[in-house]
Symmetry: C2
Subunit: 525 residues, 2 copies
């Protein structure tokens, strides 16, 4: 199975690298895939400051439906409007601008069925879960590499190759550099010269073209790009954590205009928002609202905390992005946020596998994997990170490069188990008591024993959806050694008490007395 | 210590019972205590339907301040306006009414210092905690007896005697009866005849006078009355869970007009609100807003859940009232709601001590007490309940009467430990990791080992507020056997690593290898 995943990824990488230089967009002259990216390119004025002087958008129409998308200036008199069509068939467009050269341009294009691997954008589904546009479940197995696009080109390419062979289908990544990134030959979102001599009314299109390209390459790999719009790791070095309000708004509008038409984009307003010293809570509300209004596709939106939680009940938050060091240590703990927010919960940061001296970066691989399982049993999702010390500072968490940890192989195995689970998502079976099972009542049960070392599990299931005479098969899963061992025979249940059904003959399942064991129990008809 | 508490309670009970028949109110002719209840009594029309026809209020003034309080009809041509003054000195009032006999009545009265035991109303303090009006901390140790005021008079009196000797300073109690309460000689909030022949435009003042009296008696005992305004246990029998909207609003306004001037009142919009089948989420929002607008004193407001949580981030919620079967099983779990809501969290229902067959009513006393400790270490508060089977159905949880469990004595001990804690409230010391300590950085640490049975605790404290050379004394607390054992000598600390300070000589504290042990560590200067 793992080999198959790796092969599929390798093939996807070839496709990604082959299309790297065109930013993964399609001109109207060629058919564009459903949920692909159409790009209307126009020539226009280069005098003055086109970034602020020129307004450009287009209305895209199919039958009675119309969707407005904002364009952007790409330098040298080039203007672009990108669009992600959500339906096959014929579409037309007409541009609008405050400049005659860009106004009233019309065209049409054809949208065709998506190619294999293009499942559409990810959205919230079944309240607590995610699904692609085509109905395929999205089982989030994320990783984090904050500044991988701020490294040299060769290292960025290496990161992509690593991701191609890794189990992750989402990566958290920042648009602004960290304060320890080296200026060198790097480009920055704003025009000007580092460290702080920026023209805040002009963007460096070379930087943004590279970001387009990287997002398109992730898309080709089937990886969602969870774009972190602000973060506190600048600490004033480049000043991007303390821009004037007008510059922040221009930056957000430019990012959305360039990137929203990539189906794999998610918007993360910040990493550790509460550590950003120069912004207040209502600034974050404003950024959410601005991005929501600017994005025609309603991509997923969240914000990631350090110690203080954002109020994720606010309507513009689509899902909950949590950093917490202890919340995924058992499923009953992890489920609490879900109950509060009634939205999907992603534990994007649960400490990292590694050997750092800081306690957030010294999880054993076993402890990293354990958190994914606990999150899943709580009906939520978890993110990976890696922080092994390196003489050159080549740490995955920050710069990308290669993965050295032992958790990714186990997370590939974990993802395979997830992807064989009910399409509706894993739901806690009985969150009222300590009961480490998730699944679908009466059909499917996934249990996880965490650090416990049981030698036997009495076959007892919570009552909902059960009836006397139902039959189940079971498998013992070793989540660390990556084995799935069928239990011989089947189990017929009968009512035991007010709350449970048990095997009618009182049988149980033998377990090996090791930690990190799981059980999968599936109805047989 | 326990004897002293019992004595104080017994004395308070005498006072309570002595003043029982006058509903604990004071006429303007006599001096009224600060935070006592002044009652202006007026004679007025008894024709028509005074409950709905007559509007009555008064403005109470002291210097430049004025507070408006709504009056109510108490039957037989008697009208009353109750007022809780919050400052000593001279006050005046003037009534307003749509009936001439009640309009423009003026008077003055004197407010004197509160008597011992009157600390004022409880409000939120230090974001996560509670305090009385006079600055005394309120360490919530609650209990629950839903329908105690719907039992016979002798049983109500017995319940009060039990409370007088119990450790509880808050009781959750419903205004509407349960469906298994017996009509018999009981009175109901609305006029009419049971089970469902109510005049929804008239109240049964005899019922409300009894409620006034009981609330006043609780006040004399130093017990907050957490009044549950709606609940699902009617199930249509009396119909109070499915009144027309206008009747609900009249009921709420009448309850607030009669009871808000008792300083010990809290408003709980519901018990298990999500089990009330005939109300929608925006009904609950409306009740909150109505009560908030009607109550001149801004008494505490919350709502209690079964499986679905109300959005406690809404601005009219003053504190969080939670039912959860598993959230208080460790402090790291219990702290999560606190982080979300940034308000005091009261785990009002964590299952009950008892021997019921239903799993919510079969906690051992040890498990009941454990939940209070875990809640405290999480910087939150917990509620007690008792559900021992009884041939006559005399269950504390529902009917009151006597307590049979073994937890109350331990909760008296627990409350004593709490009341010796820093006035600011217990704050989690390091919620980022599993670290079962609360207190005040650099000054006071209360640790709790839950079900663990440690034989030694290495003297290691989280860094915040610490410096080399500080000295601490320690006590070993057996929370079940109710002993406090000083550890000989003191501990001098020095920095151990990035996160902790430890005893400079590497010493630890011997523990007896039993469960339910705690540690108290206090700075020595």
């Amino acid at each position: 199975m793992l080999v198959r995943v790796l092969l599929a990824c390798a093939l996807a990488l070839c496709a990604a690298l082959a299309s790297a230089d065109d930013f993964g967009v399609t001109p109207p002259a060629a058919p564009v895939e459903r949920w692909g990216t159409l790009e209307v390119a126009l020539a226009g004025p280069s005098d003055g400051n086109p970034f602020v002087d020129v307004e450009l958008s287009a209305v895209f129409r199919q039958g009675a439906r119309s969707i407005a998308a904002t364009g952007f200036y790409d330098g040298d008199g080039h203007y672009k409007i990108r669009f992600m069509p959500d339906a096959v068939g014929q579409w037309t467009y007409e541009t609008r601008s405050n400049r005659p050269a860009l106004h009233g341009k019309q065209g049409s294009f054809t949208v065709v069925q998506p190619a294999p691997g293009n499942h559409g954008p990810v959205a919230v589904r079944n309240k607590f879960h995610f699904g692609y546009g085509d109905g395929t479940p999205f089982w989030q197995v994320g990783t984090t590499s904050y500044a991988w696009i701020h490294q040299g080109d060769a290292l960025q390419e290496q990161t992509l190759r690593t991701l191609a062979g890794a189990p992750f289908n989402k990566i958290r990544m920042a648009i602004f550099p960290n304060n320890d990134d080296k200026a060198g030959t790097l480009r920055f979102p704003f025009a000007g010269t580092p460290p702080r001599n920026w023209d805040l009314e002009r963007f460096d299109v070379a930087f943004w073209r590279n970001l387009d390209k990287r997002v398109a390459q992730l898309r080709a790999l089937g990886i969602e790009a969870d774009l972190i719009l602000f973060h506190p790791y600048d600490k004033g070095k480049w000043g991007f954590d303390r821009l004037p309000a007008a510059a922040n708004d221009r930056y957000l509008r430019y990012a959305v205009a360039r990137l929203a038409a990539y189906r794999n984009v998610w918007w993360s307003m910040a990493n550790e928002f509460d550590f950003v010293t120069e912004k207040r809570m209502d600034d974050w509300d404003h950024y959410f609202q601005l991005v929501q209004a600017a994005d025609p596709y309603d991509h997923l939106r969240s914000i990631h905390n350090a110690f203080r939680l954002y109020n994720h009940t606010k309507p513009w938050v689509t899902h909950v992005s949590i950093q917490h060091g202890a919340a995924t240590l058992d499923p009953e703990r992890a489920v609490l946020y879900r109950d509060v927010y009634e939205k999907p919960v992603v534990y994007d940061e649960v400490k990292y596998e590694g050997d750092f001296t800081r306690r957030w970066g010294q999880l054993t691989p076993e402890e990293m994997v354990l958190r994914f399982w606990n999150g899943a049993i709580a009906g939520s999702y978890v993110g990976h990170g890696e922080a092994y010390q390196d003489p050159q500072g080549m740490v995955w968490l920050a710069k990308g490069g290669t993965l050295r940890g032992k958790s990714p192989a186990r997370l590939a195995f974990f993802r395979k188990i997830l992807s064989d689970s009910p399409l509706e998502g894993l739901e806690p079976i009985d969150k009222w008591q300590d009961h480490p099972f998730a699944g679908k009542h009466g059909e499917y049960y996934l249990g996880y024993f965490n650090r416990e070392r049981p030698t036997n599990w009495p076959f007892v299931l919570f009552k909902t959806g059960l009836a006397d005479g139902m039959n189940f098969r079971a498998e013992v899963i070793d989540t660390w050694n990556m084995t799935v061992t069928p239990v011989p025979g089947t189990f017929e249940i009968k009512k035991r008490d007010d709350y449970t059904y048990a095997d009618k003959d009182g049988r149980g399942i033998a377990l090996p007395g090791r930690p990190y064991m799981a059980l999968r129990i599936v109805r047989v008809r």
